[in-house]
């Protein structure tokens, strides 16, 4: 292990990508993720890599598409409105089965919204966003250290499954500084990208990367293949942290920075004799449903706390499957719920 460094979340994303072997970054400025671009702009020329500030998010994601088609590990980062613009490219990346990593440092919407932290893009990230039956792998770090680890992981998953892997953070996570400890060497999933368009060198048949299939049966074949791959991802790649759940009176579920607020709430509740557990999905897709099934009959109730009007709660309800009431508490617009208001909500649910 190398020494600990104090770094900003956004910068750690960039550094992690570099450590994962990414040498190509395409992006467009938008708050609150611009430090990723600043870092890449500084480092890429020194490592013989590419940094392009594209003319739009649309262009940036299509540059990602091209670079991924050419076999490179490639990153783009943006924030909610920018990620909306990228949806076209994301759907094409899914259709063409290209590996790429996208970071969304979520801000509050809809529309231009605001720039404060939010989790209102859960649906967009996990339920499509663009057109077509497709999935992205979605990772939700809750600390700067995890931002590092999950960014590297995202590149590996992208290559392993030929999918887009997304880091879903928020402005707080991107802007905050914490200690981070980089490994001396990253574990890199080595993918044989024999499908990549690098030139035939006159030694093989041409490779074609495409997402258009005019024949219905052929396109259905692709869809079946994609769905089979997604089932694999669901089986193999779910990640979750459970905390204090055995004997919990109520299990709160939250991801990202909100889960950290919940940890403080758990302490406050303890002081009042209330046993609160936490299920923190680390992968949002695949959703770690098994953790909810396991504890579905333990508490009196579940409570999903989100910086949204209620998005992940739908997956929680599906996972709990009616075995226990599932409540929701959310704040929107960039408002962060205080510990005491969450505690009060818990007490209300438990009639305490």
């Amino acid at each position: 292990m190398a020494e600990k460094l104090l770094m900003k979340g956004n910068e750690v994303i960039a550094e992690a990508a570099l450590r994962a072997g990414c040498r190509h970054y395409f992006g467009y400025p938008i708050t609150p993720q611009t430090e990723v671009a600043h870092y890449m702009a500084k480092v890429m020329p020194k490592v013989n890599g590419t940094f392009i500030q594209a003319e739009s998010e649309v262009a940036a994601i299509n540059m990602v598409y091209g670079a991924a088609a050419a076999g490179a590990r490639v990153l783009t980062s943006s924030s909610s409105p920018g990620v909306s613009l990228k949806q076209e490219g994301i759907s094409y990346i899914a259709g063409a089965e290209l590996p790429a990593v996208l970071v969304n440092i979520v801000r509050c919407g809809p529309g231009l919204g605001g720039i404060q932290a939010a989790q209102c893009d859960y649906f967009q990230a996990c339920k499509g966003g663009g057109h077509g039956d497709y999935k992205n792998i979605v990772l939700a770090p809750s600390s700067v250290q995890e931002l590092y680890e999950l960014t590297v992981h995202a590149f590996n998953l992208a290559d392993k499954y030929r999918m887009l892997a997304m880091i879903l953070g928020d402005g707080m996570l991107g802007q905050m500084m914490e200690a981070v400890e980089f490994k001396d060497k990253e574990e890199i999933y080595s993918a044989d990208k024999d499908w990549a368009c690098t030139g035939t060198k006159m030694q093989r048949e041409s490779n074609d990367i495409t997402s258009i299939y005019i024949q219905p049966e052929v396109l259905e074949g692709l869809n079946r293949k994609l769905q089979a791959k997604y089932r694999q991802v669901e089986q193999n790649e779910a990640m979750v942290e459970t905390y204090n759940c055995d004997n919990a009176e109520i299990i709160v579920t939250a991801y990202g920075t909100v889960a950290r607020i919940i940890k403080n709430v758990i302490k406050m509740a303890e002081n009042e004799g209330i046993r609160v557990g936490l299920i923190r999905p680390i992968t949002l897709y695949p959703f770690p449903a098994a953790a909810y099934e396991k504890y579905a009959e333990t508490p009196e109730a579940f409570l999903s706390v989100e910086l949204s009007a209620g998005q992940m709660v739908e997956d929680v309800r599906l996972a709990v499957n009616g075995k226990c009431p599932v409540h929701f508490y959310g704040r929107t617009g960039g408002v962060i719920p205080s510990q005491i208001e969450i505690l009060n909500e818990i007490k209300k649910i438990l009639n305490k």
Binding site: T50, S56, V58, G66, A67, N207, D208, T210, I212
Partner: protein, 248 residues
């Protein structure tokens, strides 16, 4: 016996899907001949557009990447930046390049992206059945300008070469046509030059090729060539707009 005519190696042995009389086939062949002559098939990656040529990845023997509508220059940018020694070209129609993809082509040119664009201008949307294109001529009837294109309603056609030639990053800009043999030869020479400009890393290169669409123009193939000559040439003058004296 000497072979005087054969399929270029860079073209696959596959029947083209284009309508009878369409000039896409000629332009495909010209690109393939240039790839053969420069002996670069193994290090060339092409980018297919959205439009009639959406699946031309099936026709070329080099590696091909299919792009979203208008995004080919951005996709080509990504490919080229990863493997700078590859020849990267985009093949785009007028709707793809001059409407939905205007930002991408302008900025790829402005960045001096070392790619080559073959821009097929037939003044109409073909694949979606004959709608008005950014290059549709004034007065021209299309399915979305059924009374003819009117400046006061639809605005004016875009002259892409003239526009792009104002950009410093654009090293080579030429407009040609394929309405007769002489011009077909000139088109091939222009495409070759554009690839050579890319090889010399001089910047962005584009050849706009005036082309026909008998099906959506509603004119037979022979008369289409005449229509192109009589109607398109006056508005879209042929020639080199940039890089005439460029040594490559």
């Amino acid at each position: 016996m000497a072979t005087v005519f054969k399929r270029p190696h860079a073209l696959k042995e596959k029947e083209l899907h284009y309508c009878p009389g369409c000039t896409h086939g000629i332009i495909h062949r010209l690109i393939a001949e240039v790839i053969d002559e420069l002996d670069i098939e193994g290090i060339t990656v092409g980018v297919s557009p959205v439009g009639c040529a959406y699946n031309n990845y099936e026709y070329f023997n080099c590696d091909m990447v299919q792009a979203a509508h208008g995004r080919a220059p951005a996709v080509a940018t990504g490919i080229k930046r990863v493997n700078p020694d590859n020849y990267v070209f985009t093949y785009q129609g007028d709707g793809d390049l001059a409407a939905i993809g205007t930002a991408e082509i302008v900025h790829a040119a402005a960045r001096g992206e070392k790619i080559t664009t073959v821009f097929v201008n037939n003044a109409i949307y073909g694949m979606t059945s004959g709608q008005m294109a950014p290059t549709t001529l004034l007065g021209q009837v299309t399915t979305t300008s059924p009374y003819g294109r009117k400046a006061e309603i639809h605005g004016f056609p875009i002259n892409v070469c003239e526009l792009l030639s104002t950009l410093e990053g654009a090293a080579y800009v030429e407009r040609t046509s394929v309405h007769d043999v002489k011009n077909i030869k000139k088109t091939k020479a222009a495409i070759k030059k554009a690839f050579e400009v890319q090889k010399a890393k001089k910047g962005f290169s584009i050849v706009e090729v005036l082309s026909t669409c008998p099906t959506n123009w509603g004119i037979n193939p022979i008369d289409s060539l005449k229509w192109l000559e009589e109607n398109m040439l006056p508005h879209y003058p042929l020639g080199v707009f940039k890089g005439k004296d460029l040594e490559v």
